[in-house]
Symmetry: C2
Subunit: 286 residues, 2 copies
């Protein structure tokens, strides 16, 4: 049931993304379309499901889903650059700077970020709510959200002082949590409804997601994951696994999953897919 809903959403998001990007010329257009193929589409799925819970049409919600997937894709393209994480493989395929070159990767990321705003600005939403949604996206993606997390990550690596659990949590709330939270809150934001239940859900889901990423970095299969693993250990970086141990991290992720599910209580069975998404996040192998 959940798997079918996720796969259906993945297909619809893929089609919508490629359609949005179809008119863009030059190599940058090719690289944008390449970058927006595949992936779990967790963020897009959260946007679509939270919209459904708040009676926002799927057509309108798709603008939010496409926008957040483009912002996510941009962050990966820049993160993979040689001066950042220096990764050759992403989703099992060459990264943009390997398939083309670094200049193309820089511009492709820039273009995806800018185009995400363009796509979201076309959404058929009441202008005041649209501005609220855009403000939240700029905040989530910018130097007080995702870029802050990335900057703290780089600073920690340079300082060679391993972070503690509170610092890692703060860093990850920015680096991965901010976009996940935006996605899950997109529905009530577009409807002009209260966002607090989904905010509580998303905050826990984002942390659980990151803890599982750290677990998969240790236990995952690089072929299934389609990317290089065990980078954190090699870089001697503090992670939830290095701080809590493997069992401690797994137990923390399970607790967070349960808290995330509990936060959705007021939605009842309507929130089934979002509850299953929380289970999916901690059970995933990729």
């Amino acid at each position: 049931m959940f798997q079918a809903a996720l796969e259906d959403a993945q297909d619809r998001i893929e089609t919508a993304l490629q359609s949005e990007l179809s008119g863009i010329e030059t190599t940058i257009g090719d690289a944008m379309r390449y970058t927006c193929q595949g992936g779990k589409r967790l963020r897009g799925f959260l946007a679509l499901e939270s919209a459904r819970l708040h009676d926002v049409s799927q057509g309108t919600a798709m603008s939010a889903a496409c926008a957040i997937e483009m912002v996510h894709a941009y962050s990966l393209v820049h993160d993979d650059l040689p001066c950042m994480d220096d990764d050759d493989l992403r989703r099992g395929r060459p990264t943009v700077h390997k398939k083309w070159d670094e200049a193309t990767a820089v511009l492709t990321g820039d273009a995806l970020l800018t185009y995400a705003f363009e796509v979201l600005l076309k959404a058929d939403v009441n202008p005041s709510r649209q501005i609220d949604l855009l403000q939240a996206l700029a905040k989530a993606a910018g130097p007080q959200g995702m870029v802050l997390g990335q900057a703290l990550d780089i600073a920690a690596e340079a300082a060679k002082t391993p972070l503690g659990i509170d610092e890692i949590t703060h860093l990850q709330r920015g680096k991965t949590g901010a976009l996940i939270s935006w996605s899950a809150m997109a529905g009530p934001r577009m409807a002009g409804d209260d966002t607090s239940a989904l905010e509580g859900y998303a905050d826990r889901l984002g942390l659980a997601f990151q803890i599982c990423d750290d677990i998969l970095d240790v236990e995952g299969n690089p072929e299934d994951m389609g990317k290089r693993l065990q980078k954190d250990g090699a870089a001697n970086k503090a992670t939830f696994v290095s701080l809590l141990g493997l069992d401690g991290a797994k137990s923390r992720a399970r607790d967070l999953m349960q808290d995330a599910i509990d936060a959705l209580e007021s939605y009842g069975t309507e929130a089934r897919n979002l509850k299953d998404a929380a289970r999916f996040v901690i059970d995933r192998k990729t």
Copy 2:
């Protein structure tokens, strides 16, 4: 008179930019503030002046001025990267990747672009007009505007086939023209007025600006300019100067300046500063 107005605008823009950026943590915040120091502020000045012509308050217009200066600054930081133009000097100071490192430069550009939207979203404008303004900014900065121009530039360099005058004009309309046009049209857009006179002005001004950049690349003083010059000749790139000759390029720039001024006829003497800005653009030595 014009010089005083420009300097006054520069001071006010500088103050507003540094105030907007004051709360941003980490090295990225430092690099954002560093990047937003100095410069001619032509784009910000155009936004403030076009707003004045359309009775938009200077406080509201300042959000547009700050946003466009941040987008411009982001494009410079990424353009200066080793994988792009590989420049060590900008406005007479080390570029971000020289003063810090490449990862910081990538993230600083990303942060400035995202924060530009955040700043513009705070502008006190009617929501529908604000959305119009944001759409125009995303289009001007994105893969069908500035990034398109940059991509065409890179493609031309890789192809080793010098471009013709129409292709160069198309490329420059994207690379430098799109942001200049957005700036000059910000006033009527915020007011909900007709943009066509300022559109005609800005299109010619943008081209004149680029032709003069090509002239300064040949004739300018690197110390006055605060950056490396004669890169185009060294790279054997087609420019307005290589295509039209130095005298031909100067004459074309003068014609465009006059056309830009003529486009403002309906505003009468109220548009004095914008007319003088067109003269400034072709007389400038930096």
